[in-house]
Subunit: 416 residues, 2 copies
């Protein structure tokens, strides 16, 4: 079975929003072993939309559309998609009732155009939307299955998980299963150079590299009759990769670096506190993005000024004047200070120049000191990054988490 995704909305073509729907649909289909050969974004223009839909229907067995189900004037797309398959829109009274209930529950006024969302193609199966007002639907036409989903990312994601995935299970025969080997501390081309033969010779399982911001992910994918069989095929390949990359691999689960740290802290029954200057709460934010982080994360201090560093973190008066705010010594004092004051097992301290401007000293923009303290020891890494503020801050967080997971797994903190 092969699928195409069509994302509808002029705002996509104007670059006003990022197309996370396409990614979410693609991921869902990929996990079910359904191949996606292309996806297309098209505006709220009936003629061009019809053209895209008709061309995709000639190539694919399954068509998933996102967007164009909303109540605004520029969302005329539902009609166009239905018409491309010779279908009319008809009123679905049960959807009307759901829409009314949704607004009552949120105590929000409902406007008449909200009820337009209850108009769906004749003969379709309604996909109930418990996360917004526009229901989705599935219908069969001319040998193609068409699934229409709402555009707002949160709704689209929930519909995929609770409506589309259950529906598609059973339609797909073979299991395609992947393992993700996550690597921090080496660039994509160097990883590929080390694993060149393995990757070039791979067929089933295949090995493919993906560069993510600041890290590399290797995806090992096997096609088999069951997940267990796929896992058996994947393991020897993973073992070969481990031999080459060893301590650079931080997990083989589908987990982020911070999730890996959370898991390790839980297992070790340890806690963490953060003291952030240039990262400004980003590391605490990443840790608290994770459900269950309250079990290991005590809290943190965002110390954006010298008095806050001294007063809340106990950085000794004079140290900043002597060594500079951006220094090994201050990073270490911040890590130790927050650990001691908040009573956690580990403390992270970060100070640096995220840019775009420097601090008037001769320290280069992009220089960040990341410190980790466990009371007995304090380690500091000096990192020099190129690129934008967001990237400098993000990568600094990566280093903090990498140092933590190394200490928690008994690896040396030195990374190069």
């Amino acid at each position: 079975m092969n699928a195409e995704i069509i994302c509808i909305g002029t705002e996509l073509l104007l670059g006003n929003i990022v197309n996370t729907d396409a990614t979410d649909v693609a991921q869902t289909l990929s996990e079910m072993g359904i191949s996606v050969y292309r996806y297309t974004a098209v505006g709220d223009n009936p003629e061009r939309l019809a053209e895209v839909v008709q061309a995709a229907a000639r190539r694919a067995d399954l068509l998933i559309t996102t967007g164009g189900l909303g109540p605004t004037l520029d969302d005329l797309s539902k009609q166009t998609v239905a018409a491309a398959f010779g279908k009319k829109l008809v009123r679905h009274p049960e959807c009307e009732a759901d829409i009314r209930t949704y607004f009552e529950r949120l105590h929000r006024p409902m406007t008449p155009n909200n009820l337009l969302q209850a108009m769906l193609p004749e003969g379709c199966t309604v996909l109930k939307n418990d996360w917004g007002t526009a229901p989705g639907c599935v219908f069969d036409a001319e040998g193609v299955k068409v699934i229409m989903l709402p555009g707002p990312p949160r709704e689209c994601r929930a519909m995929l998980r609770y409506r589309v995935a259950p529906y598609l299970k059973g339609l797909s025969g073979q299991t395609i299963h992947s393992r993700y080997v996550h690597i921090f501390g080496m660039g994509e081309s160097q990883v590929e150079s080390l694993l060149h033969d393995l990757m070039e010779q791979s067929s089933n399982p295949t090995v493919a590299p993906y560069a993510k911001e600041g890290e590399v992910m290797l995806r090992i994918t096997a096609a088999a009759s069951s997940q267990a069989e796929a896992e058996t095929m994947i393991e020897p390949v993973a073992a070969q990769i481990r031999t080459v990359l060893g301590p650079l691999i931080y997990t083989e689960e589908y987990d982020s670096l911070e999730q890996t740290c959370l898991n390790l802290l839980r297992q070790a029954d340890k806690t963490l506190a953060t003291a952030e200057s240039c990262t400004g709460g980003y590391i605490a934010k990443r840790m608290t993005d994770l459900p269950g982080s309250s079990a290991v994360f005590v809290g943190g201090v965002v110390a954006y000024t010298v008095p806050v560093k001294e007063q809340l973190l106990g950085v000794p008066a004079g140290l900043i004047e002597r060594c500079g705010v951006v220094s090994v010594e201050v990073a270490a004092a911040m890590a130790e200070g927050v650990r001691a004051r908040l009573g956690s097992s580990f403390g992270i301290g970060v100070t640096g120049l995220a840019g775009p401007d420097g601090d008037g000293s001769n320290r280069p923009v992009g220089l960040v000191y990341v410190a980790l303290s466990n009371g007995a020891n304090t380690w500091v890494r000096a990192i020099q990054q190129t690129g934008e503020r967001e990237r400098v801050r993000y990568i600094a967080g990566h280093h903090a988490f990498d140092m933590l997971r190394r200490v928690l797994t008994g690896l040396p903190v030195e990374w190069q």
Copy 2:
């Protein structure tokens, strides 16, 4: 002039990465008045890629590709695109030199496959990449302009700004200019209902709504011979919208809510500190995302446990026991406490249940109290959100910033 964007990479079709390149290219083109009628994502499959490129070349005057320039084995796409226009790849010695310099500067080992990136279509103009190793290029073929850009988002974005935009200026005749009216506190369909006539009758300028997470943006776009003329056409429409939506409009610049707060704080010469429980540093992170935030942002405390709230924020002992951690009283005490301890003009305090799990009390998941204190007064909003942890945390931040900008502009903090 009309353009199509082709994003190349199997990782897009597997849903491993979000296609921010398409958004960035679309935004750049839109700002230059170049229409984008569709964009397509396709994998590293020569046959399907050739098909997509040829079809797009028949429809568009300008083709921009992203991705497929990298050094890994699965990036064979450059050849395919060149071949679709009857071009061979040839070695560009000046690119080779740039690639060598790049690795030397970062003190990273260069591998032979990195040099493959110096192979570009014959007769092309090279677009130098100062942010990575793969150069881009422009060439003309069969009446179509083709621009090839690297896939990594950071590189693509920089190339658009510093290479593509300057090149495209001059190719486009008419100026298309937009103003963005940002609204917080009302849903998209309600906004559209209030402005129905204005939007339906609009032609030049046009008015179109965009729902963003937790807010609505109205884009007023005029086509004219100059930006000044476009602005003159836009202003009366903006004035009409102001009459209807008044205090819900937080800015008419292309600024976020937090950037608006930063600007207002600077103008008023005031400072801010944050005390966050459930948002876990997210509000501080959003404030410090902004260059120049150190002029107004003092710092913050992420108080994820009761002792941290009492010790670092001075929340009175017994208050939490009496009122519960998630309460109006604790939010207010956090805002007041952080303001007093960090010596800022304003303090923000946030406590709530971000989910997915509750806290064992009868308080519902998604309930958040957001407090703002200026010493003389403390205001608290109770917000009940549906949806995921990320959304609950994000919207709580929106409310904190909305309260702050209302106080700073002399508006009532009450929002409904």
